[in-house]
C-alpha cells in the first residue's frame, strides 16, 4: 500500500513512520484502558463497598501505619543508594572502555529478568547469620537479614536497573567534548561535574530514582523472604495487603493498596512537574 492513501501525509505535517494520529492514539487509549484503567477501576470498585469511616479505620490501623513507615523508610534508603550507585554505574558503562563491559551492561537487567522470589531467597541465604555475607557482617554488629536493612537491600536489588537505564541514554547523548570544554575554560574536575554534567543528568536521575522508589513500595516477592515479617518492626505494606487477601477481605486489601497507589502517583506527578520546570529553566532562559 502506498502512502498516497493518507491525505495528510502529503500536507504540512511531517511524515511519520507509524500510521496516522487518529489510529495510533486510538490504539494507545484502548491499550491503556485495558492494561491500566480497567484494573484501576476494579480496585476502586472494591472500595465502593466501604464507608469513609471504615476506609479510614483500615488504613490508619496501628500495625498498617507501622508498615508504611517500614516500607517508605526502606524504599527511600534503597532509592537514594540506587541513585548514587546507579549514576556511578551508568557513568562507568558510558564513559569507559574495559573488558567485560558488555557483560556488565547485560547484568544490569538481571534484577528484571530474575523472578523476585528467587532474588529474595538468594539474598536471605547470603545475609542470614550462617550465610557468606552474614557471617562476615554479624561480628561487626550489622545484622542485615530479618531487619529493615535487609528490606532495603532487597528493594535496592530489584530497582537498580531503573536508575541505570534512565541515566545511561542521557549520558550517552552528552558528548565528552562538553567535559573537555568545561575543563579548558578553567573548571576543575569537581566543578565540571557539578556545574556542567550533573545539571544535564538531573531530570533522568530524579526520574530513575523516583521510579526505583515507587517500584520498591510495591515489591513483595523479593522482600518477604528476608524481612522476618515481625509485627510493627519488619512488616511491609504489601504483606498487609496479602494478609487481607488471605482473609478474602478484598475491600480491606484495596483500601491499603489505594494508599500505596496515591503515594506513588503523587510522587510521580511531582517529579513530572518538577522536571517540566527544570527543563524549561535549563533550555528556556538563554533564548
Amino acid at each position: 500500500m502506498s502512502t498516497r492513501a493518507l491525505p495528510f501525509a502529503i500536507g504540512s505535517a511531517p511524515k511519520r513512520v507509524l500510521p496516522g494520529f487518529g489510529l495510533s492514539l486510538g490504539v494507545s487509549l484502548l491499550f491503556i484502558s485495558l492494561v491500566l484503567l480497567l484494573p484501576m477501576t476494579g480496585l476502586f470498585g472494591q472500595l465502593a463497598g466501604l464507608s469513609l469511616a471504615e476506609y479510614w479505620a483500615i488504613i490508619s490501623d496501628g500495625r498498617v501505619v507501622a508498615s508504611y513507615t517500614v516500607t517508605i523508610g526502606a524504599a527511600a534508603v534503597a532509592a537514594l543508594v540506587n541513585g548514587a550507585f546507579g549514576l556511578l554505574l551508568a557513568w562507568v558503562l558510558v564513559r569507559y572502555e574495559f573488558p567485560g563491559k558488555r557483560l556488565l551492561d547485560a547484568l544490569m537487567d538481571l534484577p528484571f529478568a530474575l523472578p523476585t522470589a528467587v532474588a529474595g531467597i538468594t539474598l536471605a541465604t547470603l545475609y542470614s547469620s550462617n550465610g557468606w555475607m552474614g557471617r562476615l557482617l554479624e561480628p561487626l554488629g550489622l545484622q542485615v537479614a530479618y531487619t529493615w536493612v535487609g528490606i532495603a537491600l532487597a528493594m535496592a536489588f530489584t530497582s537498580i536497573p531503573f536508575v541505570v537505564r534512565t541515566v545511561q541514554p542521557v549520558l550517552e547523548d552528552l558528548p565528552v567534548e562538553v567535559d573537555e570544554a568545561a575543563l579548558t575554560l578553567g573548571a576543575n574536575d569537581g566543578t565540571a561535574f557539578r556545574r556542567v554534567i550533573l545539571p544535564h543528568l538531573w531530570p533522568a536521575l530524579v526520574t530513575g530514582t523516583g521510579l526505583a522508589f515507587v517500584r520498591s513500595l510495591g515489591e513483595f516477592g523479593a522482600i518477604i523472604f528476608i524481612a522476618g515479617n515481625m509485627p510493627y518492626e519488619t512488616e511491609i505494606t504489601a504483606l498487609m495487603i496479602f494478609v487481607r487477601l488471605q482473609e478474602y477481605d478484598y475491600a480491606g486489601a484495596s483500601a491499603i493498596a489505594s494508599v500505596v497507589l496515591f503515594v506513588s502517583l503523587a510522587l510521580l506527578l511531582a517529579i513530572n512537574i518538577w522536571q517540566g520546570r527544570f527543563i524549561k529553566r535549563l533550555h528556556g532562559g538563554g533564548g
Partner: protein
C-alpha cells in the same frame, strides 16, 4: 508452480497433525486436583496408583493433573474460574469458602467419611539434636530462653493450627482463665524469631538459616523434614496435647459436571480412603483411619490428646472471626 508444493505440504502437515493428535485426544479424560502447597510429593505418589486402579477396575486410561499453592490462594483461583474437579486442602475454611459460593455441595462434610477428611495430622515440634532446650510441651515454648519458628497465622493455615493448639493447651492448663491464657499467648508469640508467610518458608528459616530452637508445623511435615535433612540432627517432639488438623476433600461439582468427570472425581476422592491410598498417606507421615494401616504404623504416631477446633473455638468460622480477623485476638495479642 510455486504454489502447488506448498499446498501439498500443508495438506500433508494437516494430515500428519490430525494423525498424531487424534488418538491422544480421544483417549483421555483428565482430572484436575487443586491441592495445598506441601502436598506435591504426596499426590505425585498417589496419582499413578489411582490411575492404575482406575485402569484395572474400569479399563479406562485417565490422567490426573495437580495444581499446588497456598490453599487459600488455590480456593480463590477456583472462585475466579480455575476448572478444578477435586479439591484436597489443609484447611476446612478454604473448602467452606467454595461451599459458600455454591461450587461445593453445602453438606460437603457429610459427603465422605470422617468429616470428609481421609487423613489427618496434628501440630508437633522439631528440635535440634538431643533437644538441648529440653522441650516437651507447649509451656516450654513460652520460656524466656526459647526461640520459635512457625509461619504467620495471618497468612498460613499451618500457622493458624499452631496458634490454636497453643491456645487450646493454655485453655486447659489455666482452667479457662482468660487473663492467664492471654499472658501465655503473648509470651508465646513474642518468642517467634521469624514469621514466614508459609510452612516451607519456616522450614527454610529453621533448617537452612539455623534460626530458632523449635520449628512448629504439622506432625507429617516435621517427620518429613527430619527424614529429609537427617534424623541424627533433629528430633520430633509430639506434645501430650495438640490440635486435630483435618485435611478436607471435596468434589467441585459444577466444574466436574462441565468437564464430564463427575464419576471420576467421586471415585478419586473415595480412593483416598482405600487401604492402598491410606498406606501411602501413612508413608508420608499422615495419620489415617483405615484400621489395618493404623495398626501397621502405630509406632510412628504417639498417642496424644487431640483437641477439636469445633469443641474449643466453636468451629472455624468463629475461630477465624474472633482470633484471626482484622482487630481479632491475634492482632490484640501482638499489639504494642
Amino acid at each position: 508452480m510455486t504454489l502447488r508444493p506448498l499446498f501439498q505440504r500443508s495438506l500433508l502437515a494437516i494430515a500428519l497433525g490430525a494423525g498424531l493428535a487424534g488418538p491422544v485426544q480421544a483417549a483421555e479424560r483428565e482430572l484436575l486436583n487443586s491441592s495445598y502447597d506441601i502436598a506435591r510429593e504426596l499426590f505425585s505418589a498417589i496419582n499413578p496408583e489411582f490411575i492404575a486402579h482406575w485402569q484395572e477396575s474400569q479399563g479406562e486410561e485417565v490422567a490426573v493433573s495437580q495444581s499446588h499453592g497456598g490453599s487459600s490462594a488455590q480456593a480463590r483461583a477456583i472462585m475466579q474460574g480455575l476448572r478444578a474437579d477435586v479439591v484436597t486442602y489443609n484447611q476446612v475454611t478454604d473448602v467452606q469458602v467454595l461451599a459458600d459460593e455454591g461450587l461445593v455441595a453445602e453438606e460437603w462434610q457429610q459427603a465422605f467419611d470422617n468429616n470428609a477428611s481421609p487423613y489427618y495430622s496434628t501440630t508437633a515440634f522439631l528440635v535440634r539434636k538431643d533437644n538441648p532446650k529440653g522441650i516437651e510441651s507447649w509451656d516450654d515454648l513460652a520460656r524466656e530462653d526459647v526461640r520459635l519458628v512457625f509461619p504467620n497465622p495471618k497468612t498460613s493455615g499451618n500457622g493458624r493450627y499452631t496458634y490454636l493448639a497453643a491456645w487450646g493447651f493454655a485453655d486447659q492448663h489455666f482452667d479457662g482463665d482468660e487473663e492467664q491464657i492471654r499472658d501465655f499467648m503473648r509470651t508465646f508469640l513474642r518468642n517467634v524469631t521469624v514469621f514466614d508467610t508459609g510452612g516451607r518458608g519456616a522450614t527454610t528459616s529453621f533448617i537452612e538459616r539455623g534460626l530458632g530452637d523449635v520449628l512448629i508445623s504439622f506432625e507429617s511435615e516435621v517427620n518429613n523434614i527430619r527424614g529429609e535433612y537427617g534424623s541424627d540432627d533433629y528430633e520430633v517432639i509430639v506434645p501430650p496435647i495438640s490440635i486435630l488438623a483435618e485435611f478436607p476433600v471435596a468434589v467441585v461439582e459444577p466444574n466436574a459436571e462441565r468437564n464430564g468427570t463427575l464419576d471420576l472425581a467421586q471415585a478419586y476422592v473415595e480412593y483416598l480412603y482405600s487401604e492402598e491410598a491410606q498406606r501411602t498417606l501413612a508413608g508420608f507421615n499422615y495419620r489415617v483411619h483405615h484400621e489395618a494401616v493404623v495398626e501397621e504404623f502405630a509406632d510412628l504416631f504417639p498417642e496424644t490428646e487431640l483437641l477439636r477446633v469445633e469443641d474449643i473455638f466453636g468451629g472455624w468460622d468463629e475461630a477465624m472471626e474472633t482470633h484471626f480477623g482484622s482487630g481479632g485476638l491475634l492482632d490484640q495479642l501482638q499489639r504494642r
